[in-house]
Amino acid sequence: SQQGEEDPQALSIQEGENATMNCSYKTSINNLQWYRQNSGRGLVHLILIRSNEREKHSGRLRVTLDTSKKSSSLLITASRAADTASYFCATDVKNDMRFGAGTRLTVKP
């Protein structure tokens, strides 16, 4: 069964705008990861946030984790056309890695 659910399912923005995606999950986790998948390509790891962390940054990416609400958000600032991809959250419950259905982000030039 899938663990996480991303919201929204699809998001379309203009280049330069910020994009926010959310992930909700059902059970307690050890950590949560975000991955990107470009059309026709494999999944690429973006960032990992542990259950005892609340916020993490990597370049233009900002991830937050609220374990009380069982949710995480991924913020991409100053988006570029190259950010067009599907974004997935993956949760580690029992040292495994289970993905949600993803958010499809389209950044228009």
Partner: protein, 113 residues
Amino acid sequence: EAGVAQSPRYKIIEKRQSVAFWCNPISGHATLYWYQQILGQGPKLLIQFQNNGVVDDSQLPKDRFSAERLKGVDSTLKIQPAKLEDSAVYLCASSFKSGGEAFFGQGTRLTVV
């Protein structure tokens, strides 16, 4: 550092035939995952190995799917017999430890006709 290698990249078979996929993880990675990704959906975990032992195969349809990781390195995933609904991309990933950052191969796109 070499990435996760998968072969073949594409495979077309008829239903009821058998097929096998191969994965070579990154050297030194103890954890290996196989995922099934149906078009428009997120990857679904089929099986997870820690070295050559199975950690989680709760979502593997064991009546038709099998996987092994001999010597704790390479892995093969087999489907026998294939059904139309098995059409998907099969992704292999490896990580240094369970639950850590995973590196994915390019996947094998299977079409069952």
